[in-house]
Symmetry: C2
Subunit: 195 residues, 2 copies
Amino acid sequence: MGYKVPVGLCNKHLHLCQADQDILFGKDYQMTPMKPLSQPGQFAAEEKVELVGPKGSLKGIRVLGPCRPETQVELAMTDARALGIQAPIRESGSLEGTPGLKIIGPKGEVEIDHGVIIAWRHVHLTDEQAKEAGVVDRQIVSLKFEGFRGGTLDNVLVRAGVKNYLDIHIDTDEGNALGLSNSDFGEIIIHEEDK
Amino acid sequence: MGYKVPVGLCNKHLHLCQADQDILFGKDYQMTPMKPLSQPGQFAAEEKVELVGPKGSLKGIRVLGPCRPETQVELAMTDARALGIQAPIRESGSLEGTPGLKIIGPKGEVEIDHGVIIAWRHVHLTDEQAKEAGVVDRQIVSLKFEGFRGGTLDNVLVRAGVKNYLDIHIDTDEGNALGLSNSDFGEIIIHEEDK
């Protein structure tokens, strides 16, 4: 039996840099935390924006805080297609050469020229949990899920570190394809050849 | 190596019964086939409708022809959630106890009281291909997919029959979760215990 990790479904969302937040919400605006996220210090804000691509727009997209060095929009592939954007699958923060889009906030608009990604599915563990699970930071594993729509997702990135919280981060396409909710668990499958 | 089958991605769509087509498009209306589908005799029509659920609506949803005994709406789970409908995962035609919704056509509206499903993923083969693949009609298999978002979908229904055309039918959530397009292939994985 592989190590079990709870599912954390990620709906489409964005992180803002301070400069973009200033334009979208006004200078010195303070975001209102709605709920803390599983990874320590991060929160989902009450605030939402509209995303506009060449083919369509998506309203009510939640901002996550606190601000980051660069604005980053994380979409499921279904969302990216609806906007008409060919977003690559990337690790968070790896934004070079990614497409942009227009963001509309209550106080202004920003046209980002890069920053739109589909998040590379990953599993967060503390260093101690990683040891228990027999994996190391940045190892590639698979995750097996039970249920009527069960299956196995390959090429899942391990992110182990002291500040991490045990969590599988998959997007709504992945969650829906496998019929998963946040009360489900995935099992880490280690491929000997990837160790 | 398992038997290879080409991917056929199914976008959200609906099949109409004659009575509902009469209301939505007018009596004796003839659908305009846009392109034939992989399964013989079926076609995607030029005609589209709007679907309305308690939480939202989806415009431009394509009608598939010819008419069927019962109206059936096939959504990905992402679509069902957008409409605010809890649609079950069902085999085509198995509509008892499924939810309904409102359909708006150019000539009228229909409120169906059942018929909305998320299609149970399945693989079509001719009897001969099934024999070659070592599977039988209604067997449960898994499908393995390669690529950056590769993985394995379990609980896939085999539909073998003389009139079938070799094709994997998965919805847009499943296709996007695994990064698949219609030019990709899946490999049938047979579980000995399910034979």
